[in-house]
């Protein structure tokens, strides 16, 4: 090849130098990012039910045909009401499981009789998860009473979109990236009741180590939530702090 002119050599040298620099830069960036990673772990999308207003976007904006957002019932917050405002239409015709009486458009809530006590009938409400489309109708309904029904992203269905389409559309910006192992964002009240139940279980466990461990796990779950909320709070106050100094300057 007639490529041995000094000009070619100079350019070749320059290219080599630039390439070596780039390789070093990439390796450095990789090292830096990998270091960052060890401070935390993979992140997943989750919604904060305390912020959610049940607007219905969770059902319509998810890129999946059937949304990855599903309803959960936090039983420790539930009143097990006969006339569940999350289960029945506001103007129901009868207190039975006929579709026209149900709030849920897909009949995803299973109502089951538990017992009758001093004239009151108690029912358990569970979610048939594959049927739920995350529309939030029951969430709004239940908010009239205890608010034990709320939405959560199911991670085994969620595609982990790099930018969750619901997060973009959510009117209250209820979506957050959370560490994968945390998995959920509990309502503040759910955190309180579950923590209390965990403590109670540990106290009453006696010799039952299995029960003691379950209680401890429950307590830990609640504490994780508390830590996360504190972290959120300090992050937001840090940004408003910087805003304060910006205005002072």
């Amino acid at each position: 090849m007639p490529d041995s002119s000094p000009k070619k050599d100079r350019r070749g040298f320059l290219n080599d130098a630039l390439r070596t620099t780039s390789v070093i830069a990439l390796a450095g960036a990789g090292g830096f990012l990998a270091g960052r990673r060890s401070e935390g772990e993979p992140m997943v999308w989750q919604l904060d039910p305390d912020q959610c207003i049940g607007c219905g976007h969770c059902a319509t904006y998810c890129v999946l045909d059937v949304s990855a957002v599903k309803c959960v019932n936090c039983f420790d917050m539930c009143g097990f009401c006969d006339i569940c405002t999350g289960y029945f239409e506001m103007n129901y015709l009868a207190l039975d499981t006929a579709a026209e009486n149900q709030l849920c458009p897909t009949g995803a809530i299973v109502r089951q009789f538990i017992e009758e006590k001093s004239g009151q009938r108690f029912y358990e409400y569970t979610i048939d998860v594959p049927l739920c489309i995350g529309c939030g109708k029951c969430v709004i309904g239940c908010a009239l009473m205890n608010g034990s029904l709320y939405l959560q992203v199911e991670h085994d269905r969620c595609l982990d979109c790099n930018e969750c389409a619901i997060a973009v559309a959510c009117p209250t910006q209820a979506f957050h990236r959370i560490p994968a192992s945390q998995a959920e964002i509990l309502k503040r009240r759910a955190e309180a009741v579950l923590g209390a139940r965990g403590r109670r279980m540990m106290r009453d466990a006696g010799d039952d180590t299995q029960r003691y461990r379950e209680g401890a796990e429950l307590l830990e779950r609640a504490l994780t939530q508390r830590r996360w909320r504190q972290q959120q709070q300090s992050a937001s106050s840090a940004s408003s702090g910087s805003e304060g100094t910006a205005r002072d300057a």
């Binding site: 990012l33 960052r36 935390g40 019932n73 420790d76 009143g79 405002t85 009473m145 991670h155 009240r189």
Partner: protein
Amino acid sequence: MPLMNDACRIGIPLATAGLMAPVAVASDLIPVPDFTEYQVPVSMPPAPDHPLWEWLNVSLLLAALLAASYIALVSRSRRNMFLLTIGSLIWFGFLYEGCICAIGSIQNVVLAVFDTSYAIPLTVVLVFLLPLGFTLFFGRVFCAAVCPLGAIQEIVAVRTTRVPSWLDHSLGLFPYIYLGLAVIYAATGTAFVICRYDPFVPMFRLSGDVNMLIFGGALLVMGVFIGRPYCRYLCPYGAVLAVLSRVSKWHTRIPPDECIKCRLCEDSCPYGAIERPSMPPARETRPAARRSLAVMLALAPLLVIGAAGLGWLMTVPLARLDHNVRLAERIHAEDTGQVEGMTDASEAFRNTGQPKEELLAMVADIRSRIRLFAVLLGAWTGLVVAVKLISLSVYRRRDEYQPDRSRCVSCGRCYWYCPCEQVRLGLIDDISELVDLETEEAKAAS
């Protein structure tokens, strides 16, 4: 408690505002009944996802990059490259459903740098770095047959025409500006615009935002006549690859060995990446060329400063992508009677009872944060234009037909047109069977 039950029996409609109210006092709530037998179940957190899937994706990415490099540089087989393209489209596109891809990973990397609370998964770091590393050594082999967005466009590029050079060069600046935009929005934690405006991922998932599906369809139709429109005029990752590819150690060549300047490959590239050998500029035009280069060099700083100023002015519209900024503007418009009614967002905000001043202070903070980045974005845009103008006025010596390293995606369509390649493949015995070199040279000279 019975009272509460009666209340709901007659169906008093309580305000849904309760949804956003701070933690209700325990006595407001109906307690969990004391059951005789029944154990109240513990509601469990959602089940975790499998991380294995991500690692499988990274291993396949590495394998595909190795294969593409081998095909582009050693075996030079367009057919195998095409098969690999199809394979990539099926896996990285339709099975893996496009997310996360190298293009979008730019934003995760930027976010990880600017936001310490965001931990970037190792797989994402690899998805970002592997194609860059390969490009530094083998050229844009990632674009050749690995990237699913490139692959879907590669397959439809069947009737391509040449884009006029001025248009190609001007539109070719856009990816760099888009890259700048994506970086500032990721750095400020506002949005991942590359993902939001990705035209092909909704297609891979066969669902998603309708507007983006239409946009993707339009790009594909356009891609029949203009090769790889997204790659050439939009893709921000391609912009980075183009720069790195310039200094790559090895790169796709059109002839297997020496170029005989037969011109047969001249129009074979669907992406307009083939450069002709350059004529040295005539002696009398040299001072003029030197002068115009000097002018460009002098103009460059002015261009950068001017564009930075423009960036400053763009702060308010740029900040509008932020949810809180839009919310504050909406609330303001409602309060001053410019619009009727409320949106979900403004209604929810009013129900929280948070004072408007707090929101406005937050918005002022967001704007001031975005202002710095807007100025940088402006300066970056100016720099991109300046570098383009300078590079256009520099004479580069080329002795043979060769792909422009930054634009060539190593697709391998041009190999076949080279008579030397046909000899190498044993399809013809001698070059003269295809070209009459004497007359070709005479034609080139005339």
